[in-house]
Amino acid sequence: MAQRRDDRYTFDGLPLNPVEPGTSLLVTGPVLSGAREMGLRLLCSSDADGGTVLVATDKDATTMLADFERHGGVLDRERVRVIDCAQESGDLPEDSVSTVNTPADLTGIGIEYSGQYESTYASGYTRVRTGIITLTPLLVYSDDVRAVYRFLNTITGRIGTADGLGICVLDPNAHEEQVVESVAQFFDGRVDVRADQGALDLRVAGLRDQPTNWTPVGT
């Protein structure tokens, strides 16, 4: 039992208890005032064998990596990899960055994600945190939401079976409530984020031993 507790994913500087390997979390809130920052902070790993695979859908890889670093991530091309599907990419010479032409290409994103995941894993970073920041373009660009459902089953399935951690950001104001509720079904828990005069609060639903009331987030 003690060994299992040691395997849990921790979140430095955030008012969250560790979560079990294989957990996928949906982070909801205004993207520009809190949810993106929260998503990136949840992806920061201090584990020696920790890696991060980021699916960047609304900012290009360079901007996403700069944001990740600003929020505490350590940029190491062996352990931090990006799938850039923001349609804004310039030259991306590094193997650690893949490109997909459009957020509508869910098949391409899925394959590139698996490829980068395998490269991370093969480099010895086996505790992989996966981030999709954000889900909104995937939903907006998909004519039929069922394709996104299949994509989410595939991605969260890999995260679950590989004992990884999944963090997906979604702005609920950008979608119909029914869509947000149905997307939330694919996740083990939901982290709601709000910004109050620049200060962030969070609360968690669906996971035990986590703050269920609005809780201030330190900087």
Partner: protein, 291 residues
Amino acid sequence: MSDSPTVLCAQSDTDERAETADALGDAGLAVEGVRSLDTLTAALDRSVDCVVTAFDLPDGDGFDVVDAVRSVNPACVVILYTEHAPSDLPRGGPEQVVEYVPRTVPESRERLADVAAMAAAEVTQAAYPVPETESERLSAVQRYDVDQLAAIDAFDRLTALMASHFDIDVAFVGLMDEHEERFVACEGANWRTLAREDTICTHTILSDETMVVEDTHEDPRFAEVDALKQLDIRSYAGVRITDEEGSAIGAVCCTDGEPRRYTQTEIDDLQRFADEVEEQLLLRRRLQGAP
């Protein structure tokens, strides 16, 4: 009959296929090797848990395999196992999302076996949300052999009453199997089954609240579902039915060809109809001496 998850392995080269099959077998999977899209198609059925395929086959490619698998077993996991880098693969359609293990990583066959073993046992590539307790739910559905319970006549009477009471086109009782909804009673239409990804009920069974869709054309979850248009389902209200342990086995539903609202009184009435169906099922199982 083996209890091991079943995997089809499609590679054209005999020696490579044998080596891959050995690695998958060592991971506890029951493997059937096939050399082409044709032979894979012949071997496909709903008992297959996972398909591992090369991208290049003599009579097709990996995305042809995905299409073949989805047409028979829509939730089955498909893993591309190929030396092609992702950027070298042609673009697939949005419904062709797959797993991918590159042959270029060290000890790729062993890694493939790990991914396949875990995916075959635990992962779905279904195009709908799946309840967390799906295995228990499916076991619960299987315990209700509605024909044997002689409940059909009672459900036919109930659905006829519902259609009249709500003044709607169709009222039905549906049981949600692994891949499709089975209509065990249906007043106003002759529906037998519907693929699960096309049903509204696959969402209804996720919640204990009544599911109301006032206009499918205005709801982004259903606006692109052709099957609903073909069945003339423009509005919907449904309540899930559960067994004694709370597992959702299906739903009791109203549909109409026009957009429609449901008052709270109507929603309460629909809930009562669903309670009646649940009770009928339970009592008849008890009469049969089922545990």
